[in-house]
């Protein structure tokens, strides 16, 4: 029941050697241990940590009322990044800046940059078990899901965002895993009855300006 960030990788050549004199019969058994435990060649490649998420990127592409991207408006990407996972280095969080009274397409990307893993692809592969929730406070930002899983339930990797009046606040993104998408309000974006586990619960400071 543990998840961790540091890995005690074990290269072959560093089996500790004892300089403590050991009687002969014990040496035989030590030798037997080395033979039996052997040297694991595969250790340098870590299969699929899977549980480490280092980076959450929100990409906002301004659109018109019909959802068509506005030409000339470059997508804005904001990242929440914590490269050492549970380690003590502080995460680096970007400040989201959006225009008031506008519409955006919001795409969510999740990465494990420490192991070069694309977690959004894994989420995509297990869509039925994942859903993002977007909770803003201090400023009114409406988010509507724009994708679906096999059961016609939303996922949250692609969304339509509408900003309203200018202001400053917090934009919180929660990713729930193995939740109950059929519980009341969940498909509308209300996290209250969702259950499951939070794999991401990251808050960005957000500024909506004229």
């Amino acid at each position: 029941m543990t998840n961790s960030k540091t890995r005690f990788m074990k290269p072959c050549s560093t089996k500790p050697l004892y300089r403590v004199p050991v009687p002969l019969f014990l040496s035989f058994f030590l030798f037997a241990t080395l033979l039996l435990s052997g040297c694991d060649e595969d250790d340098h490649k870590h299969d699929h940590e899977g549980e480490l998420i280092t980076t959450l990127t929100l990409t906002f592409q301004e659109t018109d009322a019909g959802g068509v991207p506005v030409p000339g408006a470059a997508p804005l990407a904001f990242t929440w990044r914590d490269l050492d996972g549970e380690g003590s280095n502080l995460p680096v969080i970007q400040n989201i800046t959006l225009k008031a009274q506008s519409k955006y397409r919001l795409s969510v990307t999740v990465l494990d940059e420490a192991n070069n893993e694309d977690i959004s692809a894994e989420i995509e592969a297990e869509k039925e078990e994942h859903q993002f929730f977007f909770i803003s406070s201090g400023v009114n930002i409406a988010v509507a899901y724009n994708d679906q899983d096999a059961n016609s339930r939303p996922v949250g990797l692609v969304n339509n965002v509408t900003t309203n009046a200018a202001g400053q606040g917090t934009f919180r993104v929660v990713l729930r895993h193995e939740l109950d998408k059929n519980a009341s309000g969940v498909s509308a974006g209300d996290i209250a009855n969702a259950g499951g586990e939070s794999d991401i619960d990251a808050s960005f400071p957000v500024t909506v300006s004229q």
Partner: protein
């Protein structure tokens, strides 16, 4: 009876005899095998005429007529003996008594196998008979029958023994004389031992560090199988158990015998299979708490006049489901779980074991030889190897079969002990060598790869003087520890050396036949375990990050000066008093621990899942003191009452932190009716047992998960208040159908008879769900033998 009264009686007797002829005297002295006089022994000349030996062990009868008298001598703790004595006698009769190994009302412990542990310690013993109604339970659960022993529980199936407040790397388990080498540092790691192997369990509630080394600082649990049979003929036992709450079935079989063509050789084969599904509380299922277990063991050996040999091989394999609802993503999830009435994940009953789960294999091999070098000297040599593989699987995306923790621990253990007896003195000198090699296959941060070499040399001395037994012992250990780790992709291989020692001194006295007092003072040392030094990781069930004491401000330290050896200075006193109808045992102890390693709240840290509290292993000075009281009283011919009460007080002397996982006060009271026989059924009994566990009033203060966010925390805390006190009732009953070479035993029990809803403070998963409800179980045991 006083000699004076006796004289009067004999005067009367003498008057009935013919004059001078019946004025003879019979004198004698009663001694034990070592030649020490025994005061207070009963010497019966006739059924109604007897004497009690005085302080120098002597007795005298006067006014006897010539003839041969059969003297019957009885003394508590010794075998009765009948000796013919002729009157007139030219000199006094010297009577030597042999000690017996009987239990008196389960209270007085006669120091069974006393060469394996001290006799001045606080000891408890669960005999085969006492284990019968609870067989099939996990080892840690069975040990809860012993006063002073509790468990840290993870869900309904994982029990980790706690003796007088100490657990983990401070408790040693001896599995058939071999120190159990698993990942016992882990709070959710139960001992990997087949509980059916035990025909008796002994618990030493005090330091046996002198005899066994650092891990015995808190106590030793000895799992003892039956000794091998070396005579020809075969025998065996079949055990079947079934329980209703988790629809569990267990089957264990044992066959043993001699080898007809090889006199003096014996063998035994034993195996166990267990399967259980989800448990349930009175209100809902505890989904994903199933378990399976499959074990096999083989013993063979011989016993000749002056030597014996034993070979033992065993394998233990288990898969355990961890309550699904206990797996949280972050503090918010934990807050929701705490607030909910029912866990968020509840499904229909199933035997399936899904993630999160544990899969453990433990293989053991032992070779032991005992040589009687001389009538007084015995040499024991033992070599054992163990291979422990532990895999823990978490909730993850992608494949379910990729473990999040995979540890392989290979251990070699060699012990050489010389025991010598010089009359009333017993001396032991020995050397223990252990080599451990741990391989962290997945590289996850809980425990690094390491190699550890420990060697220790010890001596113990036991001296008997009349009614006293004195014990003394000392030990010196040398340990080398070499972990292998990566710090930001740079390989580091620190090497640590530890020199530490332990000592023990104790005395016990039998002032009278029914009373025994003992006192023991022990000093023990323990270098912190590598997991306490270098662990690093997020514990989902605990919603917290734990870090080793060598991790400071994101840096991995390698200096030896950062590590202090933990020491314990424990004083334990035991008083036992026993009569035919009543018995009492009181143990009181005080333990001053310096550089005691524990988890202290350090800070809150922001991660992509939100804030988590960070607990760091730190060393502080602590104190643990308490008492265990056991009482038994025979209310009538067939009704007996027994009760026990345990209290423990623990504190951090240096910083006033409240320590976590301190067992709250608990008391058990039971009444047992024994009916003699009814047709073929014999030894029928019914017991009603009530357990009361108090609320832990000294629990660390509560900070709810939602209250923690970016603030600094310096004091130990708990996410939820301690559960309220609760009262549980259970019922046990059973009978035996014996016959000449077969034995059939049946026992029924109902645990949590009233289907009480409660939470246990010592359960790590009490934030998520209640404890299991009513459980009916039945156990059948069939023993047969042809020798």
């Amino acid at each position: 009876m006083r000699s004076g009264l006796l004289l009067t009686l004999f005067f009367g007797f003498a008057l009935g005899c013919f004059g001078q002829e019946c004025a003879y005297e019979l004198r004698g002295v009663v001694e034990d095998e070592a030649g020490d006089e025994l005061a207070g022994a009963t010497v019966l000349l006739r059924e109604d005429i007897g004497a009690v030996t005085s302080a120098d062990g002597s007795f005298r009868f006067e006014g006897l007529c010539p003839g041969v008298y059969n003297l019957l001598i009885k003394f508590v703790g010794y075998e009765d003996i009948t000796i013919p004595a002729r009157v007139p006698a030219s000199r006094q009769v010297v009577i030597k008594l042999k000690s017996s190994v009987h239990m008196l009302h389960d209270i007085v412990v006669q120091g069974q196998h006393s060469e394996r542990h001290g006799v001045t310690q606080s000891l408890s013993f669960l005999s085969d008979e006492e284990l019968t109604p609870i067989r099939g339970k996990a080892l840690g659960e069975m040990l809860q029958e012993v006063p002073g022993v509790n468990s840290i529980v993870t869900g309904p199936a994982i029990f980790k023994p706690v003796i007088h407040g100490l657990f983990g790397q401070r408790i040693l388990i001896l599995n058939n004389g071999v120190r159990q080498e698993g990942q016992q540092w882990g709070i959710e790691h139960a001992p990997e031992i087949d509980s059916y192997v035990a025909s008796e369990l002994e618990v030493v509630k005090g330091s046996e560090s002198v005899r066994y080394g650092a891990d015995a600082m808190g106590g030793v649990i000895l799992v003892n199988p039956m000794p091998l049979h070396f005579s020809p003929g075969t025998g065996g036992e079949i055990n079947i158990a079934s329980a209703s709450n988790n629809r569990m079935g267990a089957f264990s079989g044992m066959f043993e015998g001699g080898v007809p063509s090889l006199p003096g050789w014996g063998w035994r084969v034993q195996g166990t299979l267990k399967k259980g599904g989800d448990f349930h509380t009175p209100e809902y299922n505890l989904s994903n708490t199933g378990m399976t277990e499959g074990n096999l063991s083989f013993t063979t050996g011989f016993r000749k006049e002056r030597k014996s040999l034993e070979v033992y091989l065993s394998t233990f394999n288990t898969r355990l489901g961890i309550l699904r609802a206990a797996h949280t993503g972050n503090l918010n999830d934990l807050q929701e779980s705490i607030e909910r009435e029912r866990p968020w994940f509840i499904r229909e009953f199933s035997y399936d074991i899904n993630n999160p789960r544990q899969a453990i294999s433990h293989h053991l091999g032992k070779l032991k030889t005992i040589l009687d070098i001389s009538p007084q000297t015995k040499l024991q040599m033992q070599y054992a190897f163990q291979y422990n593989q532990r895999r823990e699987f978490d909730i993850r995306r992608g494949s379910e079969d990729v473990p999040s923790l995979s540890l392989n621990l290979f251990s070699h253990l060699a012990d050489v002990v010389l025991d010598r007896e010089f009359g009333s003195r017993t001396e032991s000198v020995g050397i223990n060598i252990t080599y451990r090699d741990n391989d962290n296959v997945r590289g996850s941060g809980l425990l690094p790869d390491y190699a550890q070499f420990t060697s220790g040399i010890f001596f113990t001395e036991k001296i008997r003087r009349q009614k006293w037994v004195y014990e003394l012992g000392g030990r010196y250990d040398y340990q080398q520890l070499r972990p292998v780790m990566f710090d930001n992709r740079v390989l580091i291989t620190p090497a640590f050396s530890f020199h530490y020692f332990s000592a023990t001194a104790g005395a016990s006295v039998h002032p009278g036949p029914a009373v025994r007092l003992s006192s023991n003072l022990s000093f023990s040392s323990r270098p912190p375990h590598v997991s306490e030094l270098y662990s690093q990781g997020l514990h989902h069930g605990a919603a917290s990050i734990e870090e080793g004491l060598m991790l400071r401000n994101g840096e991995i330290l390698t200096g030896r000066n950062n590590i202090n050896t933990e020491t314990s200075f424990k004083w334990v006193n035991t008083f036992q008093w026993n009569t035919e109808t009543a018995g009492i045992e009181l143990t009181a102890y005080a333990n001053a621990l310096n550089n005691y390693v524990f988890l202290a709240a350090a800070e809150t840290r922001l991660t992509i899942r939100g804030f988590f509290p960070v607990f760091q292993h730190r060393q502080t000075n602590a104190f643990m003191g308490g008492s265990d009281l056991t009482v038994s009283y025979r209310l009538s011919e067939s009704i007996q009452y027994s009760g026990r009460l345990s209290l423990l007080y623990a504190t951090d002397r240096s910083e006033g932190n409240r320590l976590p996982f301190v067992p709250p006060a608990n008391t058990r009271n039971s009444v047992t009716w024994t009916y003699g026989n009814a047709g073929k059924m014999k030894s029928i009994f019914v017991s009603l047992i009530s357990d009361f566990t108090a609320e832990q009033k000294s629990a660390p203060r509560t900070i709810y998960p939602e209250e923690l966010s970016g603030q600094s925390i310096s004091e130990t805390f708990d996410f939820m208040p301690a559960p309220s006190s609760y009262f549980l009732l259970s019922l046990r009953a059973g009978f035996t159908v014996p016959s000449s070479n077969r034995d059939f035993n049946v026992s029924f029990s109902v645990d949590n008879l009233l289907d009480t809803v409660y939470r246990n403070y010592m359960n790590r998963l009490r934030y998520f769900a209640d404890e299991p409800g009513r459980n009916f179980s039945i156990r059948l045991r069939y023993k047969f033998h042809s020798h």
